[in-house]
């Protein structure tokens, strides 16, 4: 993927993030050397350049603080947040009444995930290229990013399988499709009558699973952390409408403790098909 497509994918992501979270008024990404990587459609390049210039003095002397990880500017009418992600700085401007936690979830969890995804997809064609002299496969990132973010709990890219171009392709057996893996953000679930072995997931995701495995009843899911812990839990749809469509899995504290995770972290969730 060349820089232009990479930048386009990130710009689309920024725009979609703003659709998902209208509290974010402006957002853009720049590199440590001041190069603009991508900016949303609301922020003129001239403004971005001036902001980067303003941060110059801080970033130049950042070593004295051990390198800058983040900058937060609070003003009477809003907030500017600069968050470092690998070699990038993501800048977001929000209004004073914005939900800090929600904005942080998006900037510190969702965005790095998108970055990783884009990088993974970026590296995939090159791996194939050395083995297959066929034309490069089309990259579907822009379309995927163009989907409203609410509709896309991030799907884990399927692991690459080695392709042997000389061997005849084996016909797929008539078996059930591979369990779909979703990456969801952990949210607490409280209350006295909350069963400790059950998590709550978007109804939309549950319906989607049900469509995939029509004749199976899906009552359980497997949750896997990025630290390698996993567990099987019962699943129910999310009750609280404010958590609907946000790529969230509501999880009781007991399960969070067992998986050694907490609110705001990402987990992989896939249905158990038996």
């Amino acid at each position: 993927m060349d820089n232009e497509i990479y930048s386009f994918a990130l710009r689309t992501t920024l725009n979609e993030i703003q659709n998902l979270c209208p509290d974010i008024k402006n957002s853009f990404i720049f590199k440590e050397d001041g190069e603009i990587v991508a900016g949303d459609e609301n922020t003129p390049e001239k403004t971005i350049v001036r902001v980067i210039d303003s941060f110059d003095g801080i970033l130049e002397k950042a070593e004295a603080l051990g390198g800058v990880e983040g900058i937060t500017l609070e003003s009477s009418k809003g907030r500017v947040n600069v968050c470092r992600m690998n070699d990038f700085y993501l800048v977001t401007v929000t209004m004073a009444n914005a939900d800090k936690n929600y904005v942080n979830t998006i900037t510190r969890v969702l965005f790095p995930t998108v970055l990783k995804l884009v990088e993974k997809i970026n590296s995939a064609p090159f791996k194939n290229e050395s083995r297959e002299p066929e034309p490069r496969p089309e990259i579907h990132i822009p379309e995927a990013m163009a989907k409203p973010a609410e509709e896309m709990p991030i799907e884990e890219p399927r692991p690459e399988r080695p392709t042997r171009t000389l061997e005849p392709e084996t016909k797929p057996k008539l078996t059930l499709p591979e369990p779909q893996i979703n990456q969801l953000i952990v949210e607490n679930i409280g209350g006295l009558l909350v069963p400790s072995d059950t998590v709550r997931i978007d109804n939309e995701t549950l319906l989607h699973w049900q469509e995939l495995y029509e004749d199976r009843k899906i009552e359980e899911a497997e949750i896997e952390t990025f630290g390698g812990q996993s567990t099987r839990v019962k699943i129910k749809p999310i009750k609280d409408s404010k958590f609907e469509g946000k790529g969230i899995v509501q999880m009781p504290e007991k399960i969070q403790n067992a998986l050694e995770i907490r609110k705001g972290e990402l987990v992989r969730v896939k249905p158990v098909i038996e």
């Binding site: 003095g57 950042a62 070593e63 937060t72 500017l73």
Partner: protein
């Protein structure tokens, strides 16, 4: 006309010393609070400056110049960016480094930066500073 001019000069002559005294008093109050904050767990020092004076108290004096530049840059950046995005008056700027974090803000003419370890309780410091 001449008389009027004299009146204006007189007013100016009267207000200037008062402002200077007020400024000095505010700066002294802030310095007292900062001395108190300096004893909080994890705080490594502070920089306080206004148009007439500057106080720097850092545990590691080799970092004075770097910290002074970051302090000044962060306050200037805060004002410039607030104007750019029409965010009103800057309340504070926090710069989080891997080892040290810095909290900068302005009280009247006084520009203040507090440096602390990454794990220090900056909320506690902010609360104290809001009372200034």
């Amino acid at each position: 006309m001449v008389k009027k001019r004299k009146d204006v000069q007189h007013v100016v002559a009267l207000t200037e010393p008062i402002t200077a005294v007020e400024e000095a008093t505010t700066a002294n109050n802030i310095r007292t609070q900062l001395e108190d904050i300096k004893n909080y767990e994890g705080v490594v020092g502070y920089i306080l400056r206004n148009s007439s004076s500057a106080s720097i108290d850092l545990k590691d004096p080799t970092k004075i110049i770097d910290y002074a530049i970051i302090s000044s840059s962060s306050i200037d950046a805060g004002q410039a960016i607030s104007e750019l995005f029409d965010l009103g008056q800057t309340k504070n700027v926090a710069v989080e480094g891997k080892n040290v974090k810095m909290l900068s803000f302005t009280v009247e003419e006084n520009k203040i930066s507090i440096f602390m370890d990454k794990n220090a309780d900056s909320e506690k410091i902010l609360k104290k500073l809001r009372s200034l």
